[in-house]
């Protein structure tokens, strides 16, 4: 259960369903985000990611279920609940094209009641490397600059929950790196980050959990912590070694991949058990968890 130090998650999505007419788009989706946690939503096009993002941010209303942001219902609790929220729900982020980036942020800061707005705007523009273009009309911005301005707008009011739909879409490699750095920073500062992405390998380095959506349902949730504690064991008689490992209580998962046994668990104890059973252990290496491969497998069998 992902809870913060005080036991309260920043975001609770509880049995949220959405139908358009008779067509279900989301069905009973539930998850929670603790402060500082990064949760990535993955799924093929049409799986309901964007709808879920719109529901979580209060832009759309669920057919059933509820979304709580710092304990307050985002749909019923009044507009003030959104003071904790920072979000970019479209790529590229939209602004008034005839106004400068700074003027757009000033207006948003006013709507969000940001204190010391000028200073804060300067900080976020600096952080997103937009100072040079800050006073130019947004209409003249490149796609990447608009995306970064979107992120600047999202973190402007120091949110506690950050929701981003495809935050790296349209960015060059440097821009992508910058966005990831900022998301990590935000998470370290205690902000709960929910993002939808197709770029699973990019985000797997700092994501705590990945929710896989398929057909409007949350079909799997991968906890990334510990996902890398898998080992590839090249041993004599791999078939028999697999059977041995599967009997051990501390081995969470074991499978045969070709001639190699892949197992999750404490590596020293697994090797000791195999040696005691008379196996020769030729090689032990970490089996890096490939989120993208896992996702593909999961979607294929959903």
């Amino acid at each position: 259960m992902p809870n913060g130090p005080d036991g309260a998650p920043n975001l609770v999505v509880e049995n949220v369903s959405k139908r358009y007419g008779r067509k279900p788009v989301l069905e009973r989706v539930s998850f929670k985000l603790a402060p500082g946690e990064v949760y990535a939503l993955a799924g093929p096009n049409g799986s309901g990611k964007t709808t879920l993002i719109r529901l979580v941010t209060g832009l759309a209303f669920p057919t059933s279920g509820r979304v709580l942001m710092l304990g307050e219902n985002i749909h019923e609790g009044g507009y003030a609940v959104r003071r904790y929220l920072g979000a970019v729900v479209e790529a590229p982020a939209a602004f008034y094209p005839y106004q400068s980036g700074r003027a757009n942020l000033e207006r948003l800061a006013w709507l969000s009641h940001v204190e010391n707005a000028a200073e804060r705007i300067r900080d976020v523009l600096f952080g997103l490397e937009l100072v040079a273009v800050a006073d130019q009309p947004v209409g003249s911005y490149s796609l990447g600059q608009r995306q970064r301005l979107g992120l600047a707008a999202a973190i402007l009011a120091r949110p506690k929950v950050l929701v981003l739909d495809e935050p790296t879409s349209g960015l060059d490699p440097d821009g992508i790196q910058k966005v990831h750095e900022i998301l990590r920073e935000q998470a370290r500062a205690g902000v709960s980050v929910l993002l939808s992405t197709h770029h699973l390998r990019e985000v797997s380095a700092y994501t705590d959990r990945v929710g896989i959506l398929g057909g409007g349902r949350l079909i799997d949730e991968v906890v990334m912590e510990g996902a890398s504690e898998r080992y590839r064991l090249r041993v004599s008689e791999p078939g028999r070694a697999l059977a041995v490992l599967q009997t051990l209580p501390f081995v969470e998962q074991a499978q045969l991949k070709g001639d190699v046994v892949v197992a999750r668990g404490p590596v020293d104890e697994m090797v000791r058990a195999l040696v005691e059973d008379g196996h020769r252990v030729y090689e032990v290496s970490a089996d890096y968890f490939d989120l993208y491969e896992y996702y593909r497998e999961r979607i294929k069998h959903a």
Binding site: R54, T57, G58, L59, A60, F61, G78, Y79, A80, V81, R82, R83, L85, G86, A87, V89, E90, A93, A94, F95, Y96, P97, Y98, R107, L108, L111, S112, H113, A153, A157
Partner: protein
Amino acid sequence: MLRFITWEVVKMLHLRSVRLGLAAAFVLPIIWTLAPGLKQAYGLVLVSGWQVPSLALLAGMEFLYPFLVAMAAAEVLGAEISMGTLKPLLLRPLSRTRFISAKLVAALAYPFLVLATSLLAALLAGLPHGLGGFFGGTGLGAGGFAGVGFLPAGAAFAEVLRAYFYAGLTLLPIAALSLMFTVWFSSTTAAALGAIATVLLMRLLIVFPALKPLLLTTYLDLYLRPGDWVMGLSLLLIYTVGFGLLAVLLFERKDV
């Protein structure tokens, strides 16, 4: 709220349809004073600059001004939807009711803006014909263009101002209706067409005499009929408030 409304009005003035509408409202009276067929169309030979505003009003209120108002009111919200700026605004701690109410006020201000522009252009176009007192009528008071004797400049101006003000009031329900349709359809074009179609349909419904006093189109020429002001304005107010409230209620639970 005042700052918010001001912001909405400023945003509205950036809209292309609004600027085009204001340009059309400015050009129309000038073209009208130069039109060679005025005598055939209205049986009128201009004897005073004070008659130009009524010409602009008679010509514009027939279709142009209702159309411009429907278009602009639809775009007040429709442009935010098409530019993608609606969602970022609603992600802020901002009441939806407050947001759409400010849009409604901006949309309701637009008819007066169009008419003020038209009046300004009409007075400028009327300058060569003189804006002093004259024998005749403005076309907006007793006696029509023929008048009832000498009309002092001040009285003529008062007649024109009053007529433009009432013309503005008659356009308010169209603005509110168009905004309500935008909330409903999330599309500028569909909303403007919906509002115009409703107005045209109401015009056709005059074949049902019992309905006629209740149709908002019955009162689009209210500025010419001072006797019906009480009934007309009450009904237009009900329409405006009704459409406005519907827009607010629909928007409160609208998926965006």
